[in-house]
Amino acid sequence: MATEGEIYPALTTIFHDVFLRDDLTLCAETNAKDVVGWDSFKQIEIIMASEEQWKIRFSTRELDALRCVGDLVRTIAAKTGGG
């Protein structure tokens, strides 16, 4: 089980690793337009790294509904029973 508060730090680490930047801070509204290089390829990396981190698998519908970091965090929380 992971609460939204627990998900943010781990997700931030994933973003740092994916974008090779230590200065990114995430908030619920953060989306692909806010981060340089966040293309569909990086999007898949973030998704799969999250799946590995929280041992979950997103459904196609869940992935299609993601618009911002907040959506992702809420989905992870719901899937791990922490939401």
Partner: protein, 628 residues
């Protein structure tokens, strides 16, 4: 599971990635070290991207041959390329990669002016996806039509290989198709000619036969996926989203498998497996437990697991991997099971270099490499003990040291999954190799080692927790007192009642010493019993220690504790006894080494030694002591 589980975890990995330019070695060397850690696909990509920003080509003086690998296929392969390059890095090999434009591999092969040809590859990986290979196959087809399709596709593959070989003049690695199709009939799927699942299985078999004819090597991700589970390798959702057949999460494994091939082509596969003995090849400690006491053979699950590991090692040796032994033991004890234990699978003749002594293992492994006259970078060292593993990793980073648990069932799996001994062909010479090495055995290769032990010990962050004997520890105390044979000065055996009597005696103390380090808790590893005599001498009645922690400064640290406890009881001198047995020769000079003066020696070899507490200065060690 596609995790690179045989690689050790590195706690400060991210910090070291950030300081790639300022680490201890060159950028390349620092990156090689990071590639040797257990990393997932995100960190693999991060390492690759950082390194490529810092280095545009192979570093000067690189001993290995740089490789230009063209990865050709009909689906998206971009996400696999960093893992391939990092797998090269892990093996000290610079790999440049090229990927064809989506779906254009045949056109690019045929066109001498294409970007593929301009890349001038030195090797080609042909990674055709399962859906492309089965395009047009349907359950409605009759057997004849299916056979026609099979011929067409296999000939297309053969033509591609030939085209790659003839126009690019480089070796071809063909990726077996991932068996991702779902069954239509079920268990007897093979009866349905037009089943894509059955078709793909037959295709993979045909391709292997054809590869033998054409001199092409196979990348067996079908076998690998069968072991890891297809779900670990393929995500249908990802295929629909991005036309990626192999999952990101499997990329490090995919890359590593390609890396093994690249290394094998350069003759850089590992050649020799160096085995620890106690708790690696058999259960228990031969010097303490004896031939009857070690766990090996039928009758216990653990004993059978050690037999299975030995069997895997012997099978490796039969296909050309050299076996060696590196053990902390008296040589006579270490060789006895090889010669006399009925359940030993490995025999003395299977071992090309046999080193059993009490020196540090890094030095001994250097000696093994010298004796066998092979490079240190061709050795794999397997040991259940994390202290030894990490010592060897630090001192000899070129030696592969798989991370294993204390469960022997995992040892063959670690060796197999790591693919250290990747081979491309088997020769008669391979089968005879061990006997060749056995012939020119030279024990004089055991030279003084130059291992920087103090630096290693300092970095271990050792903590010794000293507690007086107590009820909680009673069972372990009695067990150690009755089991320890080698590092045991007096070999006095005591019952529960005897130990309880020590607890109650105001003129005696019993110490149980537990050792912790940054790799974990080693448990209670030493026992001391001191008894104050009427003349104010403190007699060290019992001093024993587990051989696992030899060479880690536990002895002088324990002496500091003994001196402190003796002073507390009002003693003026310490008196240590050595009572020789068949097995405790290793501690004959224990007290002399610690600065005692040997007073009496008896004809049997026993001795008494004395240390004046008034002039005693506690020894400085790298171990922090906590009295609890």
């Amino acid at each position: 599971m596609t995790e690179l589980h045989w690689l050790p975890e590195m706690q400060d990995w991210r910090a070291r990635l950030r300081s790639l330019t300022s680490g201890p070695g060159s950028v390349w060397e620092n990156a090689v070290a990071l590639a040797g850690a257990r990393i997932n696909f995100v960190l693999t990509n991060a390492l690759d991207e950082r390194l490529r920003r810092l280095l545009s080509g192979p570093p000067d003086g690189l001993q290995t041959k740089p490789v230009r690998l063209a990865v050709l296929g009909s689906s998206t392969l971009t996400h696999l390329l960093p893992a391939i390059r990092v797998a090269g890095l892990r093996r000290n090999i610079w790999i440049d990669t090229y990927e064809n434009d989506y779906g254009q591999y045949w056109q690019e092969l045929s066109d001498p002016d294409s970007a593929l040809h301009q890349f001038r590859p030195t090797a080609v990986l042909l990674a055709l996806d399962a859906r492309d290979l089965t395009a047009g196959i349907t359950a409605a087809m009759d057997p004849e039509a299916v056979e026609g399709a099979m011929t067409e596709i296999t000939e297309r593959i053969r033509a591609t290989w030939r085209m790659a070989r003839d126009t690019l003049r480089c070796p071809v690695l063909h990726q077996a198709a991932l068996p991702l199709h779902l069954p239509l009939l079920g268990n007897n799927e093979h009866r349905l000619a037009g089943s894509r699942a059955a078709f793909l299985g037959r295709l993979n078999a045909r391709v292997r036969t054809m590869a033998e004819e054409e001199g092409v090597d196979i990348l067996a991700i079908d076998d690998r996926a069968a072991m890891d589970g297809l779900r670990a390798w393929h995500d249908p959702g990802l295929w629909h989203r991005a036309k990626q057949e192999v999952s990101h999460t499997a990329a490090p494994m995919f890359g590593d498998m390609v890396g093994r091939w690249v290394a094998a082509k350069q003759g850089r596969s590992f050649k020799c497996l160096v085995l620890d003995l106690d708790n690696t090849v058999w259960g228990g400690v031969i010097g303490d437990d004896g031939m009857e006491g070690i766990e090996l053979g039928q009758g216990s699950p653990l004993g059978e697991a050690y037999v299975a590991f030995q069997d895997y090692a012997r099978e490796l040796s039969r296909r050309g991997v050299i076996l060696a032994v590196c053990s902390k033991n008296d040589e006579a004890n270490a060789t006895e099971p090889f010669e006399k234990h009925p359940d030993m699978v490995l025999r003395r003749g299977d071992i090309a270099s046999f080193v059993a002594n009490w020196s540090d293992k890094a030095g001994n492994i250097r000696a093994i490499a010298e004796e066998l006259n092979i490079g240190l970078d061709s050795l794999v060292f397997i040991d259940d003990n994390p202290f030894e593993r990490n010592l060897v990793r630090q001192e000899l980073p070129m030696v592969a040291v798989p991370e294993v648990s204390d469960d022997p069932t995992t040892y063959p799996v670690a060796l197999a999954d790591a693919g250290y001994f990747e081979g491309l062909a088997v020769t008669d010479e391979d089968r005879e190799r061990t006997s060749q090495y056995h012939g020119n055995k030279a024990r004089d290769a055991l030279k003084a080692s130059v291992t920087d032990l103090p630096a290693y010990l300092r970095g271990l962050e050792m903590e010794l927790i000293a507690r007086p004997f107590d009820r909680v520890g009673l069972q372990r105390i009695v067990q150690l007192i009755n089991k320890s044979n080698q590092f045991n000065l007096t070999t006095r055996r005591y019952t529960d009642e005897d130990v309880i009597a020590v607890m109650a005696d105001p003129d005696a103390f019993g110490l149980q010493l537990r050792l912790l380090d940054r790799f974990g808790d080693n448990g209670v590893i030493a026992i001391v019993i001191g008894r104050l005599q009427p003349n104010k001498d403190l007699l060290i009645d019992t001093w024993l220690m587990s051989c696992r922690v030899l060479g880690r400064q536990v002895e002088p640290t324990a002496l500091n504790l003994i001196a402190r406890n003796a002073t507390r009881l009002g003693a003026r001198r310490l008196v240590g006894e050595y009572i020789p047995t068949e097995k405790n020769g290793m501690v004959k000079d224990h007290y002399a080494k610690l600065g005692f003066t040997v007073m009496e020696t008896d004809p049997a070899g026993g001795s008494r030694a004395v240390l004046d507490l008034a002039g005693y200065r506690p020894a400085e060690t790298f171990i922090q002591v906590t009295e609890g």
